[in-house]
Amino acid sequence: MNENERYQRQVSLKEFGEKGQEKLRNAKVFIAGAGGLGCPALLYLAASGVGCIGIADDDFVSLNNLHRQILFSTEDIGKPKVLVAKKKINQLNPEVNIVGYQQRLTNLNAFNILKEYDVIIDGTDNFPVKYMLNDASVLLGKPLVYGAVSKFEGQVGIFNVADEKKTKCNYRDLFPQPPTEQILNCSEEGVLGTLTGIIGAMQANETIKLLTGIGVPLINQLLIYNSLNNDSYTIEITENKKAYHSPKDEEEFIKMDYDWFCFSDENIKVIDAAEFQKMLIEKDALFIDVRENDEMPVVSFSHEKIPLSQFENEIKNINQNTIVLFCQTGKRSLQAAQMLLKDGAKDKKVYRLKDGILSLQD
């Protein structure tokens, strides 16, 4: 196969040329999340000939992913996203070295993984990971191509790259603290696949601009695109270092609890398996299983079952003041805790088991 032919249409752009292709070939790009943003970014960067692309995701393909996560097919349902992504990208462009990390990116593994790469792309879908990825990129001094969506709007920006005034801004300069109110994600408020496609492709485009030095990348800027009226609005981000305390080194970074940081509330405490067992013995709290009926494993200690799907309607029937919420892995107990908070559980002490029932079995 003639490689020149593969990239001929982009190499013939005089601004890009053979030099641009060479820069892409030598680049290592990391994509956090193989979801609505990660899939289009991965497809376009692989097609354009980025030499090495790392992709991390611990999730499996499900049917309701397919309308926006265009890397996956119906036959892939139930398979690990990272494995499917590797196979599909190999078919698309065998010249690209795809490194798959079939694991959740956390502050415990992020440093070792990210340090291998030149540019990091945020394709994640929640605040704890977005802040974690931002802090890791700041500490490692790596460009972060940020992206996020909400309903019909998307945001794109580039952090940790010096502008002509040598200023480097990051996500915390824009939003020093995570929101305290509930912000719905795609699975809760819905999203059109075309929007994540547009924003993910813009992230890939900004990455190509950064790597090849063409055009004017969105450094220290945030672009907001509205897919309903095609308005785009670009604002300048300025330094705001006094407004936040981010981890100052790797050691502090590893000690961070990003779930806690993003969802901490004086009335909601995250507890681990040991603290959970201790509270079971103390018998002061009402334990609530928010998993749907029939989910395994069944637990033997005394508890109530209020599946998350019915939780909001049942809040009024919860009279106890000390409540421990648990689910399978810790995601749904968080949502239940947020529902309680939204409902004004200010007089209640709400605890949730961090990594769910599965963490009790170790």
């Binding site: 999340g33 979801g35 609505g36 943003l37 990660g38 945020d122 394709g123 994640t124 879908d125 929640n126 605040f127 977005k130 992206g147 996020a148 969506v149 909400s150 309903k151 709007e153 998307g154 945001q155 824009l174 939003f175 603290q177 995570p178 929101p179 305290t180 109110e181 912000i183 719905l184 994600n185 795609c186 408020e189 999203v191 994540t196 945030l222 907001i224 509205n226 009226n229 609005y233 670009t234 604002i235 300048e236 981000i237 300025t238 705001n240 407004a243």
Partner: protein
């Protein structure tokens, strides 16, 4: 002057842009917005004036363009 809302904030304004007259600075505008839209007090957002993030009080011309930007988390 025109105040532009983004993301979930458009649900509070019920539209993307509203017009508020006769305010001289950002603090006065914030006060007026919170009075007209109390639900804003529950929301996290930053304010851009003429496409620059502004954190202190600044005086506002009638033709200033103000935008309220919430964080997005979807992907």
């Amino acid at each position: 002057m025109n105040i532009k809302a983004f993301g979930q904030l458009t649900d509070i304004f019920k539209k993307e842009t509203i017009c508020i007259e006769g305010v001289k600075d950002l603090n006065e505008l914030k006060e007026k917005l919170l009075k007209s839209f109390p639900a804003l007090s529950q929301k996290t957002f930053v304010i851009a004036v003429n496409k620059q993030i502004i954190r202190n009080n600044v005086s506002l011309n009638e033709d200033a363009e103000v935008a309220l930007l919430p964080p997005f988390s979807g992907g």
